[in-house]
């Protein structure tokens, strides 16, 4: 980790320096969430407590520049490989990258629009709110909770009853990324932010994904992929 951070910072700084205008412009064309391009904002993974308690109401999430995404689904494979590691001959290795298990999903539409879809980190926590498991007296956590460090949604498998309420809430009020496991019905596909080094951002061959600090009032924020696709198709292909 110590080695990785400086390189990542440099990349992001370049992005700000040379293409900050383009970046904002593309966002305006391609949609996405409004950015706070402060000195710290774009660069760092927020370690703040999440939600409305955060500074200026911001939090970190994976944001898509739809105008750069080509729909290649590399993000799905690296997400799956990192978050579903395998033990092989006693060694823990990245998985083979089966996109079925990815937390980020690229939905493709006709006319040609590709919408990578990932947990929106909703500040009002519809999934956690819906979780019927009583908060732990010590930690205050339900089965579903925010990770202190990354603010990602996590599930305590030992306490989760597999009732499916979170998935319902996610699809009704969030983006609809939570999918119940076919066997246990426990929620899956919540973005983990890969412990602060999101693999999708790192490996996207087109620079379409960024980890940024956002304010939850961007125009496509929390919208389901089909609505975004419809709007983008209108913007791109209507004359």
């Amino acid at each position: 980790m110590g080695e990785k951070r400086p390189r990542k910072r440099k990349e992001h700084r370049n992005l700000m320096k040379s293409t900050r205008r383009d970046f904002i412009k593309n966002m305006a064309v391609g949609g996405g969430t409004i950015f706070l391009l402060g000195n710290l904002g774009l660069l760092q993974l927020s370690c703040k407590r999440l939600g409305l308690e955060g500074k200026n109401g911001t939090f970190s999430m994976i944001v898509v520049d739809y105008s750069k995404c080509t729909g290649c689904r590399t993000c799905e494979t690296v997400c799956s490989a990192y978050n579903h590691k395998q033990k092989v001959n006693g060694k823990v290795l990245p998985g083979l990258g089966n996109p079925f298990y990815s937390n980020i999903s690229v939905y493709s539409f006709n006319p040609d629009v590709d919408i990578p879809t990932v947990c929106a980190m909703c500040p009002d926590n519809p999934c956690i709110e819906a979780c019927p498991v009583l908060p732990d007296t010590k930690t205050g956590r339900k089965a579903l909770y925010r990770d202190d460090k990354t603010s990602a949604i996590k599930n305590d498998l030992s306490r989760c009853t597999g009732c499916g309420s979170c998935a319902e809430a996610c699809s009704a009020r969030g983006v609809g990324v939570i999918v119940p496991n076919p066997a246990t019905n426990q929620p899956e596909r919540m973005c983990t932010l890969c412990d602060g080094d999101p693999q999708c951002v790192k490996y996207c061959p087109y620079g379409a994904l960024s980890l940024v600090e956002v304010k939850p009032d961007g125009e496509f924020y929390r919208m389901p992929p089909d609505i975004i696709a419809e709007e983008l198709a209108k913007r791109w292909y209507t004359i």
Binding site: S67, T70, G71, C72, R73, T74, T77, V78, A81, Q86, V88, N89, K91, L93, P94, L96, G97, N98, P99, F100, Y101, S105, Y107, S108, F109, N110, P111, D112, D114, Y203, P205, Y206, P225, W236, Y237, T238, I239
Partner: protein
């Protein structure tokens, strides 16, 4: 019924549409080691199932084989390809004792299908039989359903693509389908995927003959792997390689900037573009339909196939003129040339409309553009009149007339019925000396690379096992290389094309990856040998059908009518020199130069002794 072969599921999904029977058939490790997958293993399956020559490609017996390769499904950059193998509905030999003699057909397509076949738990899908009425197939892991498709029959591909996924109710399904052209059995119809990608050069016709409108599939599985640790390291290395060259001006930047359309102007300058039914190699208005014009007027975005860092596909919208509002891919090199330069169309909007229509009907745009070019020339020369063309004034560059003919071909109405059979059939009907400018090899139309000034491409077309194919390779090594790449499931655009000087992955990179995936220690040379094996088995298939040296023949035009404009003005193929090149080709292949029959010793060396008794 599955075999445990690392890197493979070890099984095919076998669907008989006559009986509705669905089962899994095992594949042997001997076959995967010899034929790899994709085009090669598909050929072996075709060989095993068609035990004799002369079987009608439109008959229920002809299997339609959708193949993935051992790279498919793994996140190897550019490992996105699907290969559709079947007996060709397009080709025919000059002489054969078999009424329905035709070559093998292998169609390589990008997109997401090949990987999804593997996610669903199979190495390939084999479709035989014929449904009593139109059907589509839904594959969701082990669950396979054959459903009624009557309401979709007749639907064009763009509308179908949108409606079908809605009915399936899950956008994770990957679909492929035919349009009206395939349903109406136009010989050169395509199987379309994502509304614009195509398995071209004929398989759509075979799918139509099976009454099969579409296949949808998704899955959750992945094959096991031999050396996980090594594989993870190799993937990382491969990704780094592409990242490295993308910062320079090399491979990836080339694709990222202009995609295939880049070649339009470049080839025009070099005199190797297909222009005016292959009469010329330079199109003076190439700049009007080239990459720069498209970038300015049409393109909105780039698209990539599964895990591909190149993104050669461009799409956008026509913003002005009579065809304003057309949203589609392209033009890229083949479509832009065959419907553009070849028909002297310089109206970019009109060209986009033609490309959209071609895909929308599910036609092969290479063959369609070739056939229309031939009709235009025949019309100009007075071999046919307006009556022959149902009253259509088919002059060079007339977009409206072109659009009318495209629709007639897809619907097989009037002149379209004849034209749907390919340029060879149209020329036979028109007669006179029209065969001199009917530009095909073995009945399959030549593509967008002209050969007056490019003898190596001539060899490529003449010796290709599926008829005039522009992806065949220009010499033996490159042909074997491409056959190997098509068998792995990776895209040739990501390779060094078998030429060590070019950027891109080479045979040793592939051997490295395949060794990690399978439990076989591969070397680059062994992979090349496998490519040679595939090429020779295809050849034996064609030889058994009755194809001989006389069929490896280029149209007269290239030997008799020199180019009159451009940098290669005056260029023409020298017949004697070309025949000598062919002689050398057969000798180096270890084939009999008189008949093109592979020698017994060659077949034995390649482990193809089983094919010896067939002829």
């Amino acid at each position: 019924m599955k075999n445990k072969i690392p890197g493979y599921h070890g099984g095919l999904l076998d669907i008989n549409l006559t009986t509705g029977k669905v089962c899994k058939t095992a594949i042997s490790s001997e076959d995967t080691e010899k034929f790899i997958g994709g085009r090669g293993l598909g050929m072996k399956i075709l060989w095993d199932r068609l035990k004799e020559p002369g079987i009608n490609p439109m008959s229920p017996e002809n299997p339609l084989v959708f193949m993935s390769g051992p790279f498919s499904g793994f996140p190897i950059p550019s490992a996105s390809r699907t290969c559709v193998v079947t007996k060709s509905p397009c080709t025919s030999p000059l002489h054969s004792c078999h009424a329905f003699a035709s070559t093998v057909s292998y169609s390589n397509m990008g997109g997401f299908l090949g990987p999804e076949i593997r996610f669903a738990g199979y190495d390939g899908i084999v479709i035989t039989g014929k449904a009593a009425s139109p059907v589509y197939i839904v594959i969701d892991d082990d669950k396979v359903e054959i459903r009624d498709a009557k309401k979709y029959w007749g639907m064009e591909t763009d509308a179908f693509d949108r409606q079908f996924i809605e009915e399936l109710g899950d956008r994770r399904f990957r679909t492929c389908y035919i349009g009206p052209a395939g349903e109406n059995l136009v010989s050169y119809s395509c199987i379309i995927h994502t509304a614009a990608r195509a398995a071209g050069r004929g398989p759509g016709c075979v799918m139509g003959a099976k009454n099969l409108k579409a296949i949808a599939l998704k899955g959750s599985k992945m094959p096991g792997i031999a050396d996980h640790e090594r594989f993870v390291a190799r993937i990382e290395k491969t990704r780094k390689y592409f990242k490295g060259i993308s910062t320079g001006t090399l491979l990836t930047m080339f694709w990222k900037n202009d995609g295939m359309a880049k070649f339009l102007e470049k080839n025009s300058e070099n005199g190797v573009l297909t222009v005016k039914n292959f009469r010329e190699g330079t199109f003076l208005k190439a700049d009007k339909i080239g990459a720069a014009a498209a970038k300015q007027k049409i393109w909105i975005r780039s698209s990539a196939c599964y895990c591909c860092p190149l993104a050669c596909k461009r799409g956008g919208v026509v913003k002005k003129g009579p065809y304003a509002g057309i949203v589609h891919d392209g033009p890229e090199y083949e479509t832009g040339t065959m419907f553009g330069a070849n028909l002297l169309v310089s109206d970019l909007g009109g060209l986009m409309k033609a490309v959209f229509d071609g895909d929308n009907y599910g036609l092969d745009i290479i063959s369609t553009g070739n056939v229309i070019g031939f009709l235009m020339e025949s019309y100009e020369k007075g071999y046919i009149d307006e009556d022959f063309l149902d009253g259509i004034d088919l002059k060079w560059g007339n977009v409206d007339a072109i659009l009318k003919i495209i629709e007639k071909i897809a619907r097989r109405e009037g002149i379209g019925d004849l034209a749907s059979k390919g340029v060879k059939a149209v020329s036979q009907k028109i007669g006179k000396d029209s065969e001199k400018f009917a530009i095909h090899v073995k009945g399959l139309e030549l593509a967008a690379w002209n050969v007056h000034a490019y003898p190596a491409k001539g060899i490529s077309y003449a010796t290709s096992n599926r008829g005039a194919c522009h992806h065949n390779g220009e010499d033996i090594d490159q042909q074997n290389f491409y056959a190997m790449v098509d068998s792995l499931g990776i895209c040739t655009f990501a390779t060094d094309h078998g030429r060590r000087k070019k950027p891109g992955l080479d045979k040793d990179d592939f051997a490295d990856l395949l060794t990690a995936i399978t439990d076989v220690e591969w070397t680059g040379d062994e992979l090349m040998k496998a490519g040679e094996r595939v090429f020779n088995l295809e050849k034996m298939f064609n030889y058994r059908e009755g194809f001989r040296r006389e069929d490896d023949k280029l149209p007269e035009r290239f030997f008799e009518e020199p180019l009159t404009v451009g940098s290669e003005k005056g260029a023409v193929l020298n017949r004697k020199a070309f025949n000598k090149m062919l002689d050398q080709y057969y000798e180096k292949r270890d084939w009999d130069p008189k008949t093109t029959k592979p020698k017994k010793s060659k077949l034995e060396e390649l482990g193809l002794s089983f094919a010896l008794g067939s002829v």
